[in-house]
Amino acid sequence: MTAAAAMTIAPDAAAPRSGARLLISTLERLGVEVVFGYPGGAIMPVYDALTGSSLRHILVRHEQAAAFAADAYARRSGRVGVCLATSGPGATNLITGIANAMMDSIPVVCITGNVPQGVMGTDAFQEIDILGVTLPIVKHSILVRDQADVPAAIEEAFHIAASGRPGPVLVDLPKDVQVGTTTQDFGFPYPNAVATTDHDAIGRAAEAIRRAERPLIYVGGGVKIGRAVEELRAFAEATGIPSVSTLNALGTIPTDAPGALGMLGMHGTRGANEAVQEADLLIVFGARFDDRATGKLAEFAPQARVVHFDIDASEIGKLRRTEVAVAGELPAGIAALTDHLTPTPLKIDPWMMRCTARAARTAFRYDAPGDGVYAPALLKAISEAAGDDFVAACDVGQHQMWAAQHCRFARPEAHLTSGGLGAMGFGLPAGIGAKLADPDATVVVVAGDGGFMMNIQELATLRRYGIPVKVLLLDNSSLGLVRQWQELFFEQNYSEVDLSDNPDFVKVAEAFGVEAFRISRREEVQAGIARLLAADGPCLAHVIIDPRENVWPLVPPGKNNAEMMEGA
């Protein structure tokens, strides 16, 4: 470049730019590659500025799917997910997705347009106080009042979303801010907080572990989010302490690793739940004692003292008294704990043997009678066939619990599930987000017929972009988990759970331009799995399963985790 050319460029760089263009430039500068969204009146300047940018915009068919896809993109990539929506209904359609990200601590930045500031508060067309509406379900939110503040607001949003305990941040951009111009350039980079490790507390934690006869690792989703997976695996391997996992933590320790007892809680394994009830020390990493995990809290792990590591100090002692609390970054904390314990092996062989023997004795069986498709066996088989590249993007319901119980997960990013919120409709958009984040993964959407219908329109997104997501649709023609509870706890009063008038899902998928086929009998399963996984593009397998099949074991509401019900 010549000196003259450089001189002509410099004034251009300082030329006034609109808030919308600054937004796009800031997203590019932050390294964003993919955004999920849906245009509308109050976000049109942003969509205008999007043209010609380096950002890949994925046009979903409902804003909820944009939020779910951004969430899954973040879960799979470890980066901040981004979604865009217009004001009013566009913004309110994001809400379930925002809440989902909040409950599972996922870094998502949601950018909404809004009416011009001059008409805010006048009930203008498509005006909603989205900042006010979303206050309880965001980590933070920012209403940008001046176009010069756009870069700083976006950078702040990204920093807050991803730092500490991650979560969603909403940035609301009134239309006048989008169109107004400024010579303001980028904001200032946020310094990363320096993590400190409380070595005194870690020493006390190590002492407690050394004194314990029946220690148990309780792994939560915070380990994956806190990027402490390798440290945790090293700790478990070095100490030989058995582990249980929450729904959101499955795969953090590979589900087939020695000492991995499986998921605890309502639909947890007997091996995990009974170990928790017998343990004399719980070593909790990045978990929050969710009620689905603990059952009746007052009777949860009744013999155990608690050592709790978490980035979020407000989770420590919130629901369960903690003997040793270590608030801070997990990787450094866990590594230091391992260092304390490795010189001398723990004397817990009898406990480890007891746990693993019980887990083997009570392991799931797959020899269900009949020739119909047995969903647990199908899910186990597809996860094993897909191998270490397998990623399950689950919807919510019985199939979600079966996936958690029976799939093999080699890494925590392999299991994408709406854990805290339990939002039906998550599966398909989550599969889209995951596949775009990790094109080499074998992404399988595990859905039920109820949840699939909640975002079925996203088949159009699969088709539009040719995203080779595989959909495993387990159809029991009912809202299976609700039906199960009505059977068990409401005297078989099956109220509004029948979905036997479902559409022909194969024809529906084909109408969207997505390859589809049906599996009705057990003998078709292996070939069906092979066809689904081998498909070049998006593909849907519609699997007919027995509507009477239940998820077992089950800890009934109000009971402790040792009081599991088992099916026939």
Binding site: G132, L135, S141, L143, R145, I160, A313, S314, G317, A325
Partner: protein, 89 residues
């Protein structure tokens, strides 16, 4: 159940006060008293809070408030019954 008084400083950003009040109520506390005054860099808030049941812990509430952006717990006057920020570990 007795009330504790929170001494806080909040910024002027949209939603800051709403965010604080919403969190306190959502986490299971009654707000029995509230005063708001301006200071040079934002607003000072004194808020008397009382748990809805015995399981509500003001220490946990304090840590949850600490997670809000633009809200800071202030040193407590010596005559006050308020809780103070504490080290967790």
């Amino acid at each position: 159940m007795t009330a504790d008084t929170l001494h806080l400083h909040i910024d002027r950003a949209d939603g800051s006060l709403q965010r604080l009040i919403g969190l306190v109520e959502r986490r299971g506390f009654h707000i029995d008293g509230l005063s708001l005054s301006e200071d040079g860099s934002g607003r000072r808030v004194e808020m008397a809070v009382r748990g809805r049941d015995a399981a509500r812990c003001t220490q946990t509430l304090g840590r949850q408030i600490d997670k809000l952006f633009g809200v800071t717990r202030m040193p407590v006057p010596s005559h006050s019954a308020a809780f103070v920020p504490e080290r967790v570990a």
